[in-house]
Symmetry: C2
Subunit: 190 residues, 2 copies
């Protein structure tokens, strides 16, 4: 019974893959041990507990998403940047549904601070530099974009838009058009 070469990193990456295959809430220390053909207790040297494992997967997903966002935003501005960032979220969720679900995990303050969460807020603000908004409207707009991206992606992923009619790609395009229009003509207070 030689050593398999476990490490926190390998466990977290395997956990992320597992999440994509069977769903984030089916990610369990036991299932992960099975996947490495190792006894369950062995994982507890690398991961504090089940919660720690899930938190780390969430942080991995947030970081991967932020990396993709940075790449997508490089050299883009205005509507181009808006759709690029929006597509990052949507594509990531479709490619990695389990990881995307993980990214939604409510993190406690320390874990949140150590995560890529703040990078996401910065990316959205970067998109808004292409529009003419000042505080506090900029913050309102950051929240609106976050809501639409997250809301659309999670409804689409959950099958909320199933009975096709117009396909979801067309809706997505039209929604981004609409957001662009809205941001260029943000209604004044009152």
């Amino acid at each position: 019974m030689g050593r398999v070469g476990l490490s926190t990193d390998r466990l977290v990456r395997a956990g992320a893959e597992l999440a994509d295959e069977v769903g984030f809430d089916q990610v369990t220390v036991s299932a992960l041990a099975r996947r490495f053909d190792v006894k369950v207790a062995s994982l507890y040297s690398h991961v504090k507990n089940s919660d720690d494992l899930r938190t780390r997967i969430a942080q991995l997903a947030l970081a991967e998403l932020a990396d993709r966002g940075d790449l997508a935003l490089a050299g883009r501005a205005g509507k181009d940047a808006l759709t690029a960032l929006a597509d990052v979220y949507r594509d990531y969720a479709r490619e990695h549904p389990g990881r995307y679900a993980a990214a939604q995990l409510r993190l406690d303050p320390e874990a949140a601070a150590a995560s890529a969460g703040p990078r996401h807020a910065r990316m959205t603000r970067a998109v808004l530099r292409g529009y003419d908004l000042t505080e506090p409207d900029q913050t309102h707009a950051v929240r609106l974009l976050g809501s639409v991206f997250h809301g659309y992606v999670s409804l689409e992923l959950g099958g909320g838009f199933s009975h096709s009619a117009p396909d979801t790609q067309e809706t997505w395009t039209r929604i981004l058009d609409a957001l662009d229009t809205l941001l260029r003509n943000w209604p004044p207070q009152d």
Copy 2:
């Protein structure tokens, strides 16, 4: 050891309360049995299994939400209807976070059909009657509203907007203003 008077209905309602208190994913057959001071196995006469219990809680939440929506929409149109429906979702989520989480549960086709899901789609379409949209734009708009409502509420609930600055009520108001403006000036294709 007399009878406690369990029934599927009482279990589901108690499960919904439990969800609001400890979170939907902490709702367990065991916890529910404890709450009724009854042995776990006793619940299995009233509920098929853990999944069945959760599905029923989800259906309860969807129905309650739809009931509130119907009340809120009665006699309202246009922006008035828009904000009334939006507030239904937001208020419900704040009053009943566990039930709101339950309402997000992915239901299998039969359970979904038996749920109040379709009523929600109808309510959103009813709001849009106050605006001048024809198909397929109306469907795009239904999806946009669903995304914003769900996205905003779940981000706010999850603490995604924590570091205040402008408070979330103000953002919510401004977002609804913005949506109203957008729906009255829906950008044409291309």
